[in-house]
């Protein structure tokens, strides 16, 4: 696990990308998103409630994702977030940017992926 400071900076830069990616193919609620990040990063990345939700609200405000209360029988209503068309464009750009960024870092540091 990286140092707390690096962890925070990395998260800040990539958090938007992560969240947008996760709601790309279907709507998800906040807890689900948090769980998936932790799960898919095999525990490397974790968002606690205090950083996850402000981020979700900010993305929503920018119009990149949109939250909606959804009710299912026998359950309390939950707020599901889905990607908006504007978010889709941002996601595509951020993906390209990220790939470029990683490649650039790799070229400098000499780290190669298998």
């Amino acid at each position: 696990m990286a140092s707390p400071i690096l962890d925070r900076e990395l998260k800040k830069g990539s958090a938007e990308l992560l969240i947008l990616s996760l709601v790309e193919d279907r709507p998800r609620h906040g807890y689900d998103i948090g769980q998936l990040i932790e799960l898919r990063s095999r525990g490397t990345l974790r968002f606690n409630i205090a950083s996850l939700y402000p981020l979700l609200y900010r993305l929503e405000k920018r119009g990149w994702i949109r939250g909606r209360w959804v009710e299912k029988s026998g359950q309390r209503r939950r707020r599901y977030y889905r990607l908006t068309p504007a978010g889709k464009k941002v996601l595509a750009k951020q993906r390209d940017g990220w790939v470029e960024f990683v490649e650039a870092i790799s070229r400098i540091t000499g780290i190669q992926y298998a």
Binding site: G30, I49, A50, P54, E60
Partner: protein
């Protein structure tokens, strides 16, 4: 399950969220914590441990508060939006947009002032013209069920009278035989001399059927209208109009029952009618007194004398077509019964509203179209201003988008701004319209009914509001949609310069200028055509010399001047006295001066020529005049002599004919010495010997070709009375008016004198309608030209400013000032050229609707089209020359350093 909501609420306390927003966050976060708690429990910890672990995660990096503050602070009102219904926020948003818009408008006062002024001109013109259209065309007549009221005419198209005034006997038959009308009333003009109360006064009035006012549904202010019983000879009752009642009787209700001396006879006043009652009238006839029609038995049987006007009310359920059909049937029957008078005489039924206002309709609709065009040009101008400003505001808009502003919301906000602009323009425009109407109403021809009801009322206000809002949306749409469509990345990369998105902006601005030029071209062509045809009208020879000519009405009392000798004595004395006045060249007795009367014509029989069949009998206009009439009026005598004092009832009865009459009856002979008489050869009137031929005079209608005319000497007439005097002066004719009046009163102190006017003014009144539309269209077209010039200037200035760098480079590379001038003006000319080309095609098509308003020129008059094109291009050249000149002053070094 523990409740986390209180823990969360505690941590949100400092954020000052709205209740709804807080509730939502609490609900969402506590669910998250519950999920986490349940998961912790599955990890086999105790409930207590699981609970504490959850709370720890909540406070892990102490971020919730600060992070949320940053997110939620941006626009607190917005937060309510999430998940809540959109509708409840429309007004909160609107309020915010309005406040923001006001700040933006206040920040650019010059821009705001120019835009508001342009819009005020456009909206004001629309408001003014709409209030005229509303009063004259749209407002129902002030009668009961006005839609059922119609006017019925005889149709004598074959004699040149498609709407002829019916004779009394025909009217009475119509009244008896029809089944389609609830009632039918007739009326005829009659003037009255009011004497015995203060100064003698001549009053316009009518004889009316007793049922006429009940038929119209008129309620008297005091007293009553006529009753059927009063519609017979010898009943001397009268109705007064409101103005006369107030002016002469101080609005005293006790006037009812009072006796008035009218034309030397005593009438009892039975009622007062409101000013809104205005029967259709020719010229500036304004009814002030009404008396019963009261046909004598001879009158009631007369089919040859056509002088009535008829209004009827259709029964409920009867259509205009049905009424027309039945009246045609009745007319056909009468034609069979009385072939001598009625052969080929049909009947015409027209809605009363159309009769009263119909002749103003084409001009008013044209003006309404014109002001709409002016508004369109103003819109294009303001849209251009907004576009130019949008370019300046790129950075602001880009920043707002980057900060997460919603594009729809942004568009809405820009629209709110433009609607606010146009509402401001509407308010100022309303003021302009109010001021303009005061001037405009002075040019409305005197005989236009309802003109005095023109005002800015609730309906007009609603119209103005609607126009303002629609205007704001129209001119705001282009800039708003452009602003919300631009590419965020490009804008940020451009560093705020206007190039990428600017190309589209420039194209839009250019098309707006092209449209402006095209629209103002159409307006200018319209105005040019009207001005041109008005010139043609003014150049028409009326057949007499109108300058230095004073005209006045002198209606003699039938009682006091009952015979020819008394009339002659009176007029001889008046002529003698006036002739001696300083400044007077000559004076003559006249009857029904040109353009003041639409009647008095008859068929004549000519010695040696068989009478034509009755349906082919041409009418000849006749006038009773005194010696010296032709020379005083300036009507050239072509052959023979004028009347003189020796032509009396005891000598040869004489007549002077117009050239047209002479050509018609004696195309190959000298008309002098030939004889004619009124009516058929067999009629008992005397033969009249032609003693002179004069030039044709335009008598009733300024525009139509003069009809056949003849003049009779009043000294040789037993019944027909002259009613006017004409005075040729060496000075301003109105300056002798009071001495002429005094000369008349010196002869008879009770004699009324009315309508004292210069002949020039009377002629001008005959073309008042044409002048009205010409003047207004010319004003609106000039407005359009100015707005278009400002538009061209604005776009050229802007484009020069944008090209500063390019111009700088060119000049640095050796371009001469003249090259730069040529380039810049060339750009302006290209736009104007395209606008003129489009306008030319459109005007070619559109001006055809004006054909009925034109005189002497065609709707596609090449002279007008060419000269307007030249004017517009010249103005456009000037408008782009000033910015071009500025372009040549660019210092290459400064330009190159510029960004």
């Amino acid at each position: 399950m523990p409740d986390f909501s209180n823990e969360i609420r505690k941590r949100l306390a400092g954020l000052q969220l709205s209740a709804l927003r807080e509730h939502e966050i609490v609900e969402e976060l506590s669910q998250h914590l519950e999920d986490q708690y349940e998961q912790n429990l599955r990890g086999a910890t105790t409930e207590d441990e699981a609970y504490r672990a959850v709370l720890v995660s909540l406070d892990e990096s102490d971020l919730l508060g600060p992070e949320l503050t940053r997110v939620e602070r941006q626009a607190p009102e917005d937060s309510v939006v999430l998940g809540a219904e959109r509708k409840s926020n429309m007004f909160a948003d609107l309020g915010q947009d309005i406040r923001y818009g006001l700040r933006m408008l206040a920040r650019a006062p010059a821009f705001t002032a120019i835009a508001v002024l342009a819009l005020a001109l456009g909206i004001g013109a629309n408001t003014a013209i709409f209030s005229v259209v509303d009063a004259i065309l749209l407002r129902p007549l002030p009668y009961k069920d006005p839609g059922h009221l119609v006017v019925v005419w005889e149709n004598a198209t074959h004699l040149g009278f498609p709407k002829n005034t019916p004779s009394a006997a025909n009217f009475l038959d119509w009244q008896k035989q029809n089944t389609v009308f609830e009632g039918m009333g007739a009326f005829a003009e009659r003037s009255f001399n009011l004497t015995g109360v203060g100064e003698p006064e001549r009053l316009d009035g009518r004889r009316v059927s007793a049922n006429l006012f009940d038929l119209l549904g008129v309620k008297p202010i005091v007293g009553r209208t006529f009753v059927a019983d009063e519609d017979k000879p010898g009943t001397k009752v009268a109705l007064l109009n409101e103005s006369l009642w107030k002016r002469r009787f101080g609005g005293d209700p006790s006037v009812i029952g009072r006796s008035l001396a009218l034309n030397g006879e005593s009438y009892t006043v039975v009622g007062v009618l409101p000013n809104s009652v205005r029967l259709p009238a020719f010229g500036n006839w304004r009814d002030q007194v009404w008396v019963p029609l009261a046909f004598s038995s001879e009158e009631a049987a007369d089919r040859g004398d056509h002088y009535l006007e008829v209004i009827a009310r259709m029964k409920p359920g009867v259509t205009l077509q049905k009424a027309k059909a039945e009246m045609e049937t009745i007319a056909a029957r009468l034609a069979q019964e009385y072939p001598k008078y009625n052969v080929r005489i049909g009947a015409v039924v027209n809605p009363l509203h159309e009769e009263i206002v119909g002749n103003m309709k084409p001009a008013l609709l044209l003006l309404l179209g014109a002001v709409a065009f002016v508004l369109l040009i103003a819109c294009a101008n303001v849209a251009n201003l907004l576009l130019a400003r949008a370019a300046v505001r790129h950075k602001e808009i880009a920043l707002r988008l980057a900060l997460g502003a919603d594009r729809v919301r942004l568009t809405k906000q820009l629209l709110v701004e433009s609607v606010m602009l146009s509402l401001l323009g509407g308010v100022v425009g309303l003021g302009l319209a109010y001021a303009g109407l005061n001037i405009l109403t002075r040019f409305i021809p005197a005989d236009v009914a309802q003109a005095e009801t023109i005002s800015i009322d609730a309906k007009v206000l609603v119209f103005t509001l609607a126009v303002a809002v629609v205007t704001g949306l129209v001119f705001g749409l282009a800039p708003a949609s452009q602003a919300s469509h631009f590419n965020l990345n490009d804008t940020l990369k451009e560093g705020g310069r206007d190039s990428g998105a600017g190309v589209r902006g420039k194209r839009l601005r250019s098309s707006l200028v092209i449209a402006e030029v095209a629209v103002s071209f159409i307006l200018l062509i319209g105005a040019g055509l009207l001005i041109n045809s008005f010139m043609h009208l003014r150049n028409l020879d009326p057949g007499f010399r109108a300058d230095h000519l004073l005209a006045l009405n002198v209606d003699l009392s039938e009682v006091k001047y009952s015979d020819n000798a008394r009339r002659t004595a009176f007029f001889d004395e008046v002529v003698r006295r006036v002739q001696a006045l300083p400044g007077v060249r000559s004076i003559a007795v006249a009857g029904n001066l040109p353009f003041t009367y639409n009647g008095d014509s008859m068929g004549i029989a000519v010695e040696g020529i068989p009478d034509p069949p009755s349906d082919q009998w041409p009418d000849v206009i006749y006038r009773a005049v005194g010696p010296g009439y032709f020379s005083t009026m300036g009507i050239p005598l072509v052959r023979g002599r004028d009347f003189n004092a020796r032509d009396t009832l005891d000598t040869t009865i004489t007549v002077v004919v117009s050239e047209k009459t002479a050509k018609h009856y004696w195309p190959n002979d000298d008309p002098i010495g030939k004889r004619l008489k009124a009516g058929a050869t067999t009629s008992d009137g005397p033969w009249r010997t032609v003693i002179g031929v004069v030039k044709d005079v335009r008598q009733n209608d300024f525009i139509a070709e003069p009809k056949m005319q003849m003049y009779l000497s009043y000294r040789q007439l037993k019944s027909l009375m002259p009613n006017a005097l004409v005075v040729r002066t060496a000075v301003d004719p109105l300056s002798v008016a009071s001495s002429v009046r005094n000369a008349i009163w010196a002869v008879d102190k009770d004699q009324t004198v009315a309508n004292v006017d210069s002949m020039e003014h009377i002629v001008a009144g005959a073309v008042a309608r044409q002048r009205f539309s010409m003047l207004l269209l010319a004003i609106f077209a000039s407005l359009a030209l100015i707005l278009a010039a400002v538009g061209i200037y604005g776009v050229m200035s802007y484009s020069v400013a944008q090209q500063t760098r390019e111009i700088g480079i060119r000049m640095a590379l050796g371009a001469q000032r003249s090259d730069v001038l040529k380039m810049t003006i060339g750009q302006g000319l290209k736009l104007v050229g395209m606008g003129v080309a489009i306008g030319l095609v459109a005007a070619f098509v559109l001006t055809r609707v004006m054909a009925t308003l034109l005189f002497g020129i065609s709707a596609t008059d090449p002279v007008t089209f060419v000269s307007i094109s030249v004017v517009l291009i010249a103005v456009a050249l000037l408008a782009s020359y000033i910015p071009a000149l500025r372009a040549t002053k660019v210092d290459p070094m400064v330009a190159l350093r510029y960004q």
